[in-house]
Subunit: 341 residues, 2 copies
């Protein structure tokens, strides 16, 4: 059975091309007799590995994967992702590169995403909304595709060797809380995001920078959703009924908090002042009252991620060129005053 | 310069793998001396072309592309697409196949989508929201990837050789208009969708089936959006101020129409009864008043599209098996009565 032999030799998924490539480039994992035969065939074909040829091979798809480490349902429910994708899409289209969005039902599917990335279908990947214990970064590293992260990845020692685009989450949170302090508020609560994400952890750090020594019961962990904001607000009011301000980690959570305050008959900002984060439109303008918030330019973050990746792909792959290498970018934030604080 | 020679021999995009494959399968387009060398290398490697091995090669990605023939901004603004993607995502995940969503800025990018599909990155494609003059179907056909369409494609002679999943748009429209007639309404307007889409054209046909001989000024073409529904409603009221009912081609357009009727001080349903199409939740329940509409199961359509495609991919590629071949599916619709008609 030649078919069976073929499958045994090359694996069930037709990896023979990879086998050739691995032998030529001196990697492990190919059994000797096959390696020998591949080497002979390669000589026969006149295939000579060489940097330029290699880069032709590795950058031939004109396609970039986008991975959002959230279930497909959240991707479509949270306008943050649509905005970031809009920036990415515009930049990739301007470079005639195809945006390939890899959707999943959840974290269990990330191994499959890793396989797709490793399969040689894209030139690089843009990855955002990572959570700390997600296997995705490891899978991406093993896949060997150039990657730019949206938001600083949280694992240790990452600073030097990963590229990311982020907002100044800690500085922005300080702006928000200082604004509340400037209004004379003293019992300022914080509804955080999911603390396994650096954006949430950094915003909590910014809150703590200003509120050093504050009662830890003024902090509730939430998840960046309107429902989470409602739940967090109820919890805060139960714990500290005399609360006079809230900093919510994003506008969606703030919109949920505003609903609960209204339900309880508390006036905003007279009784409780509220500040959000994102300046997500139209959400932040349509809340009742309109939301004071910390603006980050989400679409621009997407555009920069794509630009950094494409620049990295175009860069000759030599160590001497290290100074011209792209660097991670942290964008500044701005406080936008509306009626809620 | 070996690099140059390599590029001249194999093309600028590293197509050497395709060259091997084309020679083995006896296709045209490979120059003879190279073909000879490839043949020798292939013999050396013991590569034998064979149906099963070939299907292993062609079905090795465990990935399915989804192409929505609308700009990325509409994909994220219209919950219809999120719902259809939800069905697709669940079904593909259940089969451990990766959902690869190809986003574009607009129709100008469809040639690039065609190139990606032709590039051997996916096992098949699910394509929806096609417009009549879109080059995509031709590009997909040339790409040679198995495809299932969401909504009946509009080109001539398509019935026999394309697979699609659709709702009974014409029958559903008849249900809507008959319901309005049953309420005693006689001057029934129609705000259609974009008439270069079969879903819109079929719903208009259904309206005409019931309203044969109606004043053509009772029909305005629109585009399935809330803003389009507002504009269409204004136009209808300007043309026929004594209108007593409207059938809008989808719920989003109906929600826009309801806003305009409220603005003009017209009571729904007393002065003007309104029926939509989709039963898109929460939209249809949250309009003022809640919307009577024609339900189609959008998520189920997505799930069926994915199921049809996967079944086609698993099917042995023989003509004898034609009876077991999957067929296109048209799902029934149901009238859902709420307060608007």
């Amino acid at each position: 059975m030649l078919t069976k032999a073929w499958a045994a030799e090359f694996g069930p998924r037709g990896v023979r091309v990879n086998a050739v490539s691995r032998v030529v480039n001196g990697a492990e994992g190919v059994r000797e007799p096959l390696a020998e035969r591949v080497r002979r065939a390669v000589e026969e074909l006149g295939y000579v590995p060489n940097q330029a040829a290699r880069s032709l091979v590795t950058r031939r798809h004109d396609a970039v994967a986008v991975v959002i480490a959230e279930p497909e349902t959240r991707v479509f429910a949270d306008p943050f992702f649509a905005l970031q994708l809009r920036g990415i899409s515009k930049e990739l289209t301007a470079h005639d590169s195809q945006l390939v969005l890899l959707l999943t039902e959840g974290r269990d599917d990330h191994a499959r995403v890793g396989r797709y990335l490793a399969g040689g279908h894209v030139d690089g990947a843009l990855v955002f909304s990572l959570h700390l214990d997600d296997p995705l970064p490891g899978l991406i590293q093993r896949a060997g595709v150039p990657t730019v992260f949206g938001g600083r990845p949280g694992w240790n020692g990452s600073a030097g060797d990963v590229l990311y685009v982020d907002s100044d989450n800690r500085g922005g949170a300080r702006q928000a809380v200082r604004h509340l302090v400037g209004l004379g508020r003293t019992r300022i609560g914080h509804i955080s995001g999911a603390l396994d994400q650096t954006s949430a952890a950094d915003r909590l750090d910014g809150y703590r920078d200003v509120m050093a020594g504050a009662n830890p019961r003024l902090i509730v962990e939430s998840d960046f959703t309107p429902a989470g904001g409602e739940h967090g607000m109820r919890e805060l009011l139960d714990r500290c009924p005399d609360l006079d301000a809230v900093f919510a980690a994003n506008d969606l959570a703030a919109s949920g908090a505003l609903r609960v305050l209204r339900e309880r008959g508390l006036r905003v900002p007279e009784d409780v002042a509220v500040v959000g984060f994102d300046d997500m439109l139209p959400v932040a303008e349509q809340t009742e009252p309109p939301l004071t918030t910390v603006r980050q330019d989400i679409e621009e973050m997407g555009r920069l991620m794509a630009r950094l990746l494409l620049r990295g792909l175009d860069r000759p792959d030599t160590d001497e060129d290290a100074e011209a290498a792209p660097n991670s970018v942290v964008l500044p934030t701005t406080l936008i005053r509306r009626a809620s604080a």
